[in-house]
């Protein structure tokens, strides 16, 4: 009973900020109040029409699409190699591939900034895409790896023994069987890339900055609820994605699965 109360209280602590953001986003005035004095959508309108956010949204779209389209095949290939490549030390290779996760954002960000400056790429989105690929790759590898582990090689052998070429086996048997892992990988990669902030801050200018960086600048300079509105849109999108992932793959398999 005490445990149950503690869990509820702690979950309330975890969700409290989210609830406040959503409530404040409907605030009718620029002066924040909670609960809001009325209901208004003006901050949503402001968020969606602010030119720098529109520019940043386009950048986010390009960077995330580029990073995900690169990371998905690269990570899938790596997951297959880790499980079936008869590597001498698969655990060590996995550690290498997952290592970008543990590097402090400011270290990676400053490193990429130095490289970008020396290559004259400070205003380009290419460096952002490169950094994002490395940052989402661990999530892709892990999600697909879970699916590869559950894949029965007998099904592929059956297809091969019935005369399918290796390419055909891969496209018609292997890939469809990996679909849950691939789908989870896609959604995680999108969510992680869309929300990436620290590394992106270092390699962004006003020209190529992505949405979280633009939102950070706005928060530093203005106090009205525009960011609350934009945050609410992010939160709703994230919940939808999480719910979708949980329907397709068991989230506990990805996150509580220790191997």
């Amino acid at each position: 009973m005490i445990l149950r109360l503690a869990v509820v209280a702690l979950l309330a602590f975890m969700t409290l900020p989210t609830v406040v953001v959503i409530a404040v986003s409907f605030n009718p005035t620029a002066i924040l109040s909670f609960p809001p004095a009325g209901l208004s959508l003006r901050w949503y309108a402001n968020a969606l029409t602010y030119p720098q956010f529109q520019r940043a949204a386009v950048n986010s779209l390009v960077v995330t699409a580029g990073a995900v389209l690169l990371a998905l095949p690269i990570g899938t290939a790596a997951a297959l190699a880790l499980e079936r490549g008869r590597l001498r030390a698969p655990g060590a290779w996995a550690t290498v591939l997952l290592s970008p996760l543990v590097v402090p954002g400011v270290a990676a960000g400053l490193g990429f900034l130095i490289v970008a400056a020396s290559l004259g790429l400070l205003q380009s989105r290419a460096v952002l895409v490169a950094a994002h690929v490395a940052l989402v790759l661990p999530f892709v590898v892990r999600s697909v790896w879970v699916s590869v582990t559950n894949l029965d090689p007998a099904l592929e052998r059956a297809a091969a023994s019935l005369g399918a070429t290796p390419a055909r086996v891969f496209v018609r048997v292997t890939l469809p069987l990996l679909r849950p892992g691939l789908f989870a990988a896609l959604l995680f990669a999108v969510v992680v890339s869309v929300n990436e902030f620290v590394v992106s801050l270092f390699i962004s200018t006003r020209v190529n900055e992505i949405l979280p960086v633009a939102m950070f600048t706005y928060v530093v300079n203005y106090t009205d609820p525009t960011i609350a509105a934009l945050s609410t849109l992010f939160i709703v999108a994230t919940f939808l994605v999480m719910w979708l992932v949980d329907r397709v793959v068991d989230l506990s398999a990805v996150f509580l699965h220790h191997r």
Binding site: I114, S231, V241, M242, F255
Partner: protein, 246 residues
């Protein structure tokens, strides 16, 4: 089959190249007013322990330690419920609620805490926003999803809490603590926005030096410190895990 690993290794190599550039800059001389650098020097690392910055390094260590302890205490009940609930529905909900902040993004979460800690919701008896207290609350909240997941993975299915479950979950406690400490040690958005320039941790010093003063070598030295602490803690974690494996 092994060749399939090559593209991924290439991606990590690009990442490693960025870190190599960071290491290189951390030992190059800063020329004020220029992005060009001079020759080899250790002056940047002397800057890390300069009286001017030592406070921030000390604050970083203190806040990281406090965050680790509080996150551990606050996460254990949720992790316990997550690992032990017989209902698949409840586990799904706990997991979604746990992971949602993890995936909501640093800016959204930190902005939310700015609203809560500023006197929007309640009037706090003591100032919270732009103080170390406020930063600590934000850091604990930020660390909880990670801590919960690591603890839940380690909590066993045996039903005797003090004698069995807690000792058996020690690997999770150690792993969670080390990882949360390491993460907090290099935390950026939380102290940046909740500290409002009054509370600075190492990552904020890196940003100030790199993006405001254009002192990349000086910033690189601080970033190397954050990186070194993180890697040392994780290496310790790896050794502990290896020592325990059968």
């Amino acid at each position: 089959m092994r060749l399939l690993l090559a593209p991924a290794v290439g991606v990590v190599a690009v990442f490693a190249a960025a870190l190599a550039a960071l290491l290189q800059y951390s030992v190059l001389e800063f020329i004020p007013g220029s992005l060009r650098t001079g020759g080899f020097t250790l002056a940047n690392f002397r800057g890390v322990i300069a009286p001017r910055y030592l406070d921030h390094v000390w604050d970083t260590a203190l806040l990281s330690a406090a965050t680790t302890v509080l996150a551990l205490v606050a996460s254990y009940p949720i992790a316990y419920a997550l690992a032990r609930t017989p209902s698949h529905r409840i586990r799904s909900w706990l997991l979604v609620l746990t992971l949602a902040p993890f995936f909501t993004g640093a800016i959204v979460r930190t902005y939310a805490w700015m609203l809560v800690l500023g006197n929007t919701v309640v009037t706090w008896p003591v100032p919270m926003l732009f103080t170390e207290r406020g930063v600590l609350v934000g850091l604990v909240h930020f660390s909880m999803p990670t801590m919960i997941l690591l603890l839940a993975a380690a909590i066993s299915h045996v039903d005797v809490f003090w004698r069995v479950t807690l000792p058996l979950s020690m690997p999770g406690v150690v792993a969670g603590s080390l990882i949360v400490f390491a993460w907090t040690f290099s935390a950026f958005p939380t102290p940046e926005l909740l500290g409002g320039g009054k509370v600075k941790m190492i990552a904020n010093v890196v940003k100030d030096l790199a993006l405001d003063s254009f002192n990349w070598p000086g910033a690189a030295a601080f970033a190397m410190l954050a990186l070194a602490v993180t890697l040392a803690l994780l290496a310790g974690l790896g050794r502990l895990a290896a020592g325990r494996a059968p």
